[in-house]
Every structure is written in structure tokens, then in C-alpha cells.
């Protein structure tokens, strides 16, 4: 297979992977825990988008917005009701709680939709060919949407007062509290944005393939890999990490069967933790 084509595919897959990876790392930065419930929120987003797109006949862009909002809203609700009390009793309780939560939510989706593979309602279009490289129009659209979503997030964090407050809490919660930042509000907002991005990412991945209740769990290893490789807690790191993991997963096709895609992510985690635990752009890992 052509290496250039693989790298191109990897960059596109990586850009999409960056969306939920940013969500994960943003929640980690503000709330200080790895939220394994990300997997089920990707599934929820993918299915919310499915209802909007297939059952209600909305265009894909509107369905993606629905995926973001529904997953974000579920994220805020579950964090407030379930995960928040766990954070007081320590990290292990929170991690196990978020795993149990993800299995619970995933099974709610399974109860409603069953295990069948489903696809979105998409027009069939011919691939674009350019100098021997093939690109699907849908992939390009997904890429643009991912880039727009990430640009909006970075603009929000850099230029708005609320965004700055979020960064302040992530950087130094005590100092932020002294300056009068409402930590609860910031926590809710980061749950909304983080899980919203997870839902958006779930649907973007589903647009490329099919969706089923396991879509989140199947990709979570790649997302964790992206966040860890880039440095847990660093947003630009998540983007860099996602691109590295995306390209790495595609290049692995040269030597491995496609089934090993997410195993490559795991390998990346092991390598990074052994050589440079704080990741490419992260601050510290202990």
C-alpha cells in the first residue's frame, strides 16, 4: 500500500480522534480524573446523531450539533448526580465509578437500539482522486467539522472570560478560587464541553463506518493513547497525540492486520510511559 495514502488517512483519522481526546484531556485538566465514562458518551452522541439524522431526517451538520448537545447534557447530568460525589472519596473510587457508569449507559443504549450495526443517512459520492491519492468527500467534511469544532474550542478558551476561568482552574484551582472563579460552574462547563466533544467524536467516527453500542468502548484505547502520548491534561498535546496515534495506526497496516489498530494505541501508551511519561506536551505525570 502507498505510504503517502496511509499517512493521509492517518492524518484524517487523527484529526477526528483529536475531538474526543481533547474532551478527555480537558476534563482531566479541570476535574483531575480520567473519565472512563467517555466511551458511553461517544456512543450516546453517535446514537443521538442517528436519531436526528435517520429518524428525523436532519442534515448531517445539524445531527452533529445534536450529538454534541445531547452527549454534553448527559455528561453534565451524570457527573453532577453520580461522579461528583465519588471525587471526594478518592481516585480509585472515581475511576471504578466511571467504568460502572460507562457500562450502565452503554447498556441503556443497547436496551433501546439492540446490537445491530447501523449507518447514517449519507449521499453516496465518488472518491476524489488527486495525484494517486484517494479521499472521500465525507472524510473531508468530517475533517473540516473536526477542525472547526477544535478552533471554536481554542478560541473560547483564549478569548472569553469563561474560557479563561476554565484555564485558570486547570492551572491552579486554589488561585482561581481566590480570584472568585466559581469552580462548580467551571466543572459543569468542562463536563459539558468534554462529553459534548466525546459525543461529536463518536458521531464523526460513526459517519466513516457504522455505529453500535460498543463504538465508544472500541475506540477508547486510541483516545487514551492520543491523550497520553500528547500529555494528559494538555489540549494542544491531545491534538498532536491524536495525529501521532492516527498516523501510527495507519502505518501499522504495513506490517499488521487491521484488527490490531487499537493495540497500536496501547503500544504507544507503553512506549510513552516508559520513555517520557508526561507525554509530548504534558506538564507532569506523577
Amino acid at each position: 500500500m502507498d505510504i503517502l495514502q496511509l499517512i493521509l488517512n492517518g492524518l484524517m483519522a487523527g484529526t477526528i480522534l483529536a475531538v474526543p481526546a481533547i474532551g478527555l484531556t480537558a476534563m482531566f485538566a479541570v476535574l483531575r480524573f480520567t473519565n472512563f465514562a467517555l466511551a458511553s458518551h461517544m456512543t450516546i452522541g453517535a446514537f443521538a446523531g442517528f436519531i436526528a439524522n435517520v429518524s428525523l431526517g436532519w442534515p448531517v451538520a445539524a445531527a452533529l450539533l445534536a450529538a454534541f448537545i445531547i452527549a454534553g447534557a448527559v455528561g453534565v447530568a451524570t457527573d453532577e448526580l453520580i461522579l461528583k460525589p465519588f471525587r471526594a472519596s478518592g481516585f480509585i473510587t472515581t475511576a471504578i465509578g466511571s467504568i460502572a457508569l460507562t457500562i450502565a449507559l452503554e447498556n441503556c443504549v443497547r436496551f433501546a437500539f439492540g446490537n445491530e450495526l447501523r449507518g447514517y443517512d449519507l449521499p453516496i459520492r465518488r472518491d476524489w482522486t488527486w495525484g494517486g491519492l484517494h479521499v472521500g468527500p465525507q472524510q473531508v467534511e468530517n475533517l473540516l467539522i473536526a477542525v472547526i469544532a477544535m478552533s471554536l474550542l481554542f478560541a473560547f478558551l483564549s478569548f472569553t472570560r469563561t474560557g479563561k476561568a476554565m484555564r485558570a482552574v486547570a492551572d491552579n484551582p486554589m488561585l482561581a478560587a481566590i480570584k472568585g472563579v466559581n469552580a462548580d460552574m467551571v466543572a459543569r462547563l468542562s463536563s459539558f464541553v468534554g462529553m459534548g466533544l466525546a459525543g461529536l467524536g463518536g458521531m464523526l467516527i460513526g459517519l466513516d463506518t457504522t455505529i453500535d453500542p460498543l463504538i465508544g468502548f472500541k475506540t477508547i484505547l486510541s483516545i487514551f493513547a492520543a491523550a497520553v502520548v500528547g500529555g494528559l491534561g494538555s489540549l494542544p498535546g491531545a491534538v498532536v497525540g491524536a495525529l501521532v496515534v492516527g498516523v501510527g495506526e495507519e502505518l501499522s497496516l504495513l506490517v499488521l492486520s487491521p484488527a490490531y489498530r487499537s493495540a497500536v494505541g496501547f503500544l504507544a501508551i507503553l512506549v510513552v510511559l516508559t520513555l517520557r511519561p508526561r507525554g509530548i506536551l504534558g506538564a507532569r505525570a506523577y
Binding site: 465519588f86 471504578i96 447498556n107 443497547r110 484505547l221 494528559l232 490490531y260 493495540a263 510511559l273
Partner: protein, 309 residues
């Protein structure tokens, strides 16, 4: 029905072995292991393959299974134990998933998703089936008793006290001159050996293992066992495992009573019930239903140190 009851009891014993192992890792050392099922699978596969392909005597194969699981456990711990707990969580979870992918796709190791069948059991041919089950139950119970006394001994030995010190306040343990990293790695290695042993017992009992059997849900069952029994409480780990198996089996009977749902919906409902019960216990009894008792007479009853676990 009797056959079923014995099989359930064997399952409970296997869960108890795992709960005892996790009691060392989580209850005593305060380390997380979200990939419990991966170590369980290593034990099952190594022991099953050795017995099936190389005709290794079953006790030796089982010991090898436990040793292999422990070796993986030590490797995982060595990579992550110096870092924040989040990394151990991610790596253990990733380990279990990756192992599942490898075992599903490498047909030459153990037939991929078709699974490994015909794993020999001790005296399986020599005894009629119902006697074999009873005999196996005896073996499992014996293993639980031995492991129980080992873990209980460990809990009261200086080793166990250091682990609890690390769990409650790592810095103080370090200041007291304890090699925290070494203790954590040892605890993880010991616990994962028990998980591997449990896996070996499982494989030789059912005679069939496949990657799909090692789903992350099992990890939740054992966490639930520990919480039901009380974290750090050795007796509680065993009781909790028995309770959880009864609970799991009863959901099997409750769900069909709800009319008008498909098999997939029934399975989803069962998993939903189990995870919700875990969430409720975790929320309101974070230290378990029967918390570990402080054995120090001079200390007040309420734990003074802010618990990490």
C-alpha cells in the same frame, strides 16, 4: 438443579480467589486494576494451552498460569507505579483489551475467536460428571482456604502493614524508609498471580475458553465482590464473592419475568442492574458493606488519615 448448584458454587469459589487477589492490590495496597479480566485470561490460556498442547500435568500448568499472570502484572506495575494512579488504570484496561484483540486474531495461539476447547480437567474422564463437579468444587474450596490464610497472614505481617501505610499515606511510608515502589510491585505481582490462578481453575473446569468470555464486565463483578465484602477485609472478600455470584445468578431469573423484551434487551438489563448496584454501593458504602476494622487498639474507631481508596 444439583448440577447447576455445584457449578454456581465453583464459580463463587473462582470469584473468591479473584476477590482475594484484588483485596491485596486494591484493598491493601490501594492500587487500581481495571484489567483484572486480562490477568484472569492469561492464567486460563497459559494453563489450558500447556495442558492441552504439551500434556503438562494440570497442577504444574495451573502454577505456570498463575506465574505468567504475575509476570504480566509485575511488568505493568513496573511501567506505571511511579506515575499517577490514572496511568495504572489506563494501562491495565488497555492490557486486557489488547490481550483480547491478540487472542481473537492470532489463530495459531489458541484458535482465535473459536476458542480453545477440550481443556482437560483433573480426573474428568475417570469420574462421572456430577462427581467430577463435586470433586472440582472441593479443589476450588481448598484453594480458596489456602489463599485465604496466605492473604490473612500477609495482612497481619509487616508486609501487609506497609501496604496499608502506603495506601493511606504514601509519603509517610516513604519517610519511614519503605521502598514504596518495590512494595507496590510486589503487591501487584502477588494479586495478579491469584487472578491467574483463578483463570486456570476456570479453564480446567469449563474445558472451554474464548476471548469473548473475558469481557470487562467480569472486572466489575470482582470490584462488586470486594465492595460487598468490605475493602481490605479478607473474610469479606470471600463472602462478597459468594454474595455477588448469588446476586448475578438471581438476575438471570428475575429478568425473564419482565415480559415483552428480547434476549439482547434482557442481557442489557442485567448488565445495567449490575452496574447500578455497583454505583450505589460505591456511592454510599465506599469502604464496603463490612469495612476493614482497625486492629490498633490505641487509635480511635474512625480512620484518622484521609483514605485514598
Amino acid at each position: 438443579m444439583e448440577h447447576y448448584a455445584v457449578a454456581i458454587a465453583v464459580t463463587a469459589g473462582i470469584y473468591a480467589l479473584m476477590a482475594l487477589g484484588m483485596n491485596v492490590i486494591w484493598g491493601m495496597a490501594g492500587l487500581i486494576n481495571l484489567g483484572l479480566v486480562g490477568f484472569f485470561a492469561v492464567g486460563a490460556y497459559v494453563s489450558g494451552l500447556l495442558a492441552l498442547r504439551f500434556g503438562t500435568p494440570i497442577p504444574i500448568a495451573m502454577a505456570a498460569g498463575a506465574a505468567a499472570a504475575s509476570a504480566f502484572g509485575v511488568a505493568v506495575a513496573l511501567i506505571t507505579v511511579r506515575l499517577r494512579g490514572d496511568y495504572l488504570a489506563i494501562v491495565t484496561l488497555g492490557f486486557a483489551e489488547t490481550l483480547r484483540i491478540v487472542m481473537s486474531n492470532e489463530l495459531w495461539i489458541a484458535n482465535g475467536t473459536d476458542g480453545l476447547s477440550g481443556i482437560p480437567g483433573p480426573l474428568r474422564g475417570a469420574l462421572p460428571p456430577h462427581l467430577f463437579n463435586l470433586f472440582y468444587l472441593g479443589l476450588v474450596v481448598a484453594a480458596v482456604i489456602v489463599l485465604f490464610f496466605l492473604v490473612d497472614r500477609l495482612a497481619h505481617a509487616p508486609f501487609g502493614r506497609v501496604l496499608r501505610a502506603i495506601r493511606d499515606d504514601e509519603q509517610i511510608a516513604q519517610v519511614a524508609g519503605k521502598n514504596v515502589v518495590l512494595f507496590k510491585v510486589k503487591a501487584f505481582g502477588f494479586g495478579t498471580a491469584a487472578l491467574g490462578l483463578a483463570g486456570a481453575f476456570y479453564g480446567h473446569f469449563t474445558s472451554y475458553i474464548a476471548p469473548d468470555l473475558f469481557a470487562p464486565l467480569l472486572t466489575l463483578y470482582i470490584k462488586l465482590s470486594l465492595l460487598a465484602g468490605g475493602l481490605g477485609n479478607t473474610m469479606g472478600a470471600v463472602l462478597g464473592a459468594v454474595l455477588v455470584v448469588f446476586f448475578l445468578e438471581s438476575t438471570r431469573f428475575v429478568v425473564p419475568l419482565i415480559g415483552g423484551i428480547t434476549a439482547v434487551q434482557g442481557a442489557a438489563l442485567r448488565e445495567l442492574m449490575i452496574s447500578v448496584v455497583l454505583l450505589v454501593i460505591l456511592r454510599f458504602y465506599a469502604k464496603g458493606l463490612m469495612p476493614e476494622r482497625l486492629e490498633h487498639p490505641a487509635l480511635p474507631d474512625k480512620a484518622t488519615a484521609p483514605a485514598q481508596a
